[in-house]
Subunit: 221 residues, 2 copies
């Protein structure tokens, strides 16, 4: 059994690379098989179609996001946690950028995936609120529950729309750089600047500098 | 010539209604002709294909947005102007909601439209910045140029992604209410709350109340 499991994993890994580089729509199962130098039959032994590969990649993506998207347990949040969340979000967006580029198309063509995405989206919004509440409890942000709800929603929309924004705004939408995606994470940090307490301000300002990518740079690279 | 011009206008108007109600992808030129009780040949006399109708609707949309998206001339901006912008944005989003629902699909299938959209997007970002700068000059907001750039970008992304967010998050994505779209405009107002001056705060808080739609309400209707 061992080699078979390995091929399955390799198919998933190679598909992710090709989807990220070329966009999911331009990559067929035949492309994937040719790229891996295996027969289409061998690929179909593991996955009935491209949707099954995408579903597997979405599971990995969900797992990666849910592994970090929760408040720290048993202690107050710190600005260092904020850096950790931003870096983890950047990594997840970069690793699975094909999902963010073509999401409506993927959901339109797979009802089950659309249902899973809806539940994932709801869990992320709840976890995001809990994280922001944690920063309020820790005296890093000063916000009401209504403001937290609106901020979390804006965070979610910016993060899930950023790659698409880049693709519809840039002349050359094929290639995406990690720097361009980092600017999206900066845009999320900016959302909360009006609510940072005086004590936390120097540390959050330093974070802003760390994540700042000039807009022109993000739009050109 | 008069009746012909009238048919042309009726085709555009009927297409807009059907696209908004059913989504552009579900509506063919045959549907439009049948709905208007004219022959497909009559429709093709005016428009070679659906793309031409969409291009015409996009022109109308651009015209509507550009008619209001600029700072007031010869005087300082007021909070009353802010209400005017928010209402005008809500109207444009509601009238052309089909564009916001399926934008990538529309741009993918029409290179010329994608180029026009890119230029439109750049003009809107510049005008948005000029409007926010006007609110700073008028003592309503207190922000640096770097903050204005980031805020304008977040505004653009929230406004252009809101309808899609609703469609991917709600169980029943077919029907969109004006209330649900209004919540998107509220989300934009929230973006600037951290930068409102003490003098302007009561008036901006009143605006927030006016545009607030409970999230649950937006997600269910």
């Amino acid at each position: 059994m061992a080699p078979r499991i390995k091929t399955r994993e390799r198919i998933v890994q190679n598909s992710l690379e090709l989807f990220n580089q070329q966009g999911e729509r331009s990559v067929s199962t035949n492309h994937i098989a040719a790229h891996m130098e295996i027969s289409p039959g061998n690929l179909y032994y593991h996955f009935a179609n491209k949707q099954e590969i995408i579903a597997e990649l979405f599971s990995q993506y969900e797992e990666q996001v849910e592994s970090f998207l929760h408040p720290p347990k048993g202690r107050l949040a710190t600005v260092e946690d904020k850096r950790f969340y931003l870096q983890a979000i950047l990594a997840a967006m970069w690793n699975y950028r094909f999902l963010h580029r073509d999401l409506e198309h993927l959901l339109d063509s797979d009802k089950a995936l659309a249902d899973r995405y809806r539940r994932f989206s709801q869990r992320c919004l709840l976890q995001g609120q809990a994280i922001y509440e944690g920063f309020v409890s820790a005296g890093i942000l000063e916000m009401t529950p209504v403001q937290i709800e609106a901020l979390t929603l804006n965070t979610w929309i910016i993060l899930t729309s950023w790659v698409r924004f880049l693709c519809t705004t840039r002349e050359n939408s094929a290639h995406l750089s990690e720097e361009a995606i980092k600017r999206g994470v900066y845009q999320v940090l900016v959302l909360e600047l009006g609510y940072v307490t005086a004590t936390a301000k120097p540390a959050v300002d330093a974070l802003c500098e760390e994540f700042h990518v000039p807009l022109q740079h993000a739009l050109e690279q």
